[in-house]
Amino acid sequence: MRPEVALPVLLPLFSGALSLLFWRSRPMQRFIAVAGNIALLVVSLWLFIATLNEGYLTIEMGSWPPPFGIVLVADLLSAVMVLMTGIVGLVMGVYSLATTGRGHEKFGYYPLMHLVLAGVAGAFLTGDIFNLYVWFEVMLVASFALLILGGERAQMEGAIKYVTLNLLASVIFLTAIGLTYGMVGTLNMADIALRLNEADHQGMVEVLAVMFMVAFGIKAAAFPLFFWLPASYHTPPVAVSALFAALLTKVGVYSIFRTFTLIFDQSMGYLQDIMLWGAAFTMVTGVLGAAAQYEFRRILSFHIVSQIGYMILGLAIYTPLAIAGGVFAIMHNIVVKTNLFLVSGITYRLQGTYQLKKMGGLYKERPWLAIAFFLSAFSLAGIPPLSGFFAKFVIVRAGIEAEAYVVTGIALAVGLMTLYSMVKIWNEVFWKTLPEENLVPQTQTSQGDDGRLVKPSLWLMYLPVIVLALATLLIGIFAEPIMQVMNAIGDQLLTPQGYIEAVLGKAASAESALIDAVNAEEITP
């Protein structure tokens, strides 16, 4: 019974509810947004340190012993993901103070933000597959509402695609859960993993694996199921874009990691090849899509897709080192991608547009912003000594060790293409002089603001950007201890027995035999 495992879920739910209570009080909601997220960060740090020292932690909801009740399980992967959620939550909380218009705040921006964080943390921590579905839905419903706050035409159009495809993925996921329950009669992931290996129809197991892969693939925006992402992510206010970019697709990636290392570890077989090539195509299409774009946030959206490819590549190679690299890539990407979106928000505030052609001259005007962008962008492209270099280096090395030369080559080439896109943004936004027709940069208030001019409190926007830029630098410089954690994650994921024992107790197999006996008794009393 470990309270810190449940707290990262409960805290944002609580702050969300509190925030709802103060519906009319704008200062109070803003205060809760920051205070609640600081609390979330503290708790997730606590959880991370506890899992680092003690290994697996579990908590049984309502004291129902697994596999009957719902368990929350924290292994190192979950803990790292929750920690990143905490960091992003706090950063977004601060950044939202400056960028969110009054109109958005009035319609429940902050409660929804807390709810998204709760859903994300819940999805990372749960050990029950149906509970995972429920957290997915919590997160999705809150994100739907965030996406359309403001109600512009582009938002509506983006939202229809986003909602439809994510609901479709949810139904596929639900169908797969139903079929799994029909086969093994349990919803606990550790228990499913035990029983699926001794199930009668191994062909059916593969069908289930593919269904889970498709469902999570849509949510993670992997090739060829990614089209909803670039169509919708650039439409909402920039803080929302950054929150989505940081966390939502990563939940899909996390679920793929979790199910394919824990539940379907036996049936990787040819699925591994499919995943490998899926990852390669994801990287290539994402980066090529970005190359064709001239809208700041749309370029970044396409790069999310391309980066998802690296993470899935890490899983598809399926060695401890590769998985460590994949998780490193997730962590690095959360930091860097969030930061790039935040920078795009600041440039929008300064120049009033996201079109690269119309921007320029920011290097002269705001050198520190330029440096923050430079660090994040080159980190994304994988230039040493920034965090992206190590993520890529580890994956590439694992790929070469696993003799997957073609895919590894593609990964390297995509790195070069990423650099091209980032240099394009750098040239257009920071390097070139401001185009003639846009010489008077209007000092913008945030969009959706109902006409009233709010003093652009730029330092609230700079603070998160600088923190995240420092984070990518520090992750790069202190890569060694982080890499040790990642290697531990890789080992943990590839030995699912540890997870199963932590959830079901040491005598897991004996216990499951007992359950079988009870079941038999129930059916033929």
Binding site: I148, M156, E157, T164, L167, L174, Y181, R298
Partner: protein, 111 residues
């Protein structure tokens, strides 16, 4: 039951492939219902008594229904209902703004 579920899935996918956003939402609705029925069926339907354990015994007497899929389906129905309500409001707003219920007219955000 299997035939009904299959038909529901087929009808839902067909509706979702239409261009009208109203039909899209109808498709989503059918799809979630089909999934709920599927869970219900694969979990094994029993015409049993409620799974209550009589006082002083450790296992229920006689054949009982499995309570878990019912709980699961109930949760799924509630979620589907909430999401559907959102989707209906969304298409209404989208219709007001775009002035058409044709998905082909909503290409502004595509590449």
């Amino acid at each position: 039951m299997a035939v009904v579920i299959g038909l529901l899935y087929a009808a839902a996918i067909f509706m979702m492939l239409r261009r009208s956003i109203v039909k899209l939402v109808i498709g989503l609705m059918l799809l979630s219902n089909a999934a709920n029925l599927l869970i219900f069926t694969t979990a094994g339907m029993t015409r049993g008594a409620p799974p209550l354990i009589p006082e002083g015994m450790l296992a229920p007497a006689g054949e009982v229904a499995d309570p878990l899929p019912q709980a699961v389906v109930l949760t799924a129905i509630v979620i589907a209902f909430g999401v559907l309500a959102f989707a209906v409001v969304l298409i209404r707003r989208a219709y007001e703004i775009v002035k058409a219920d044709d998905l082909d007219k909503m290409k502004d955000t595509d590449t």
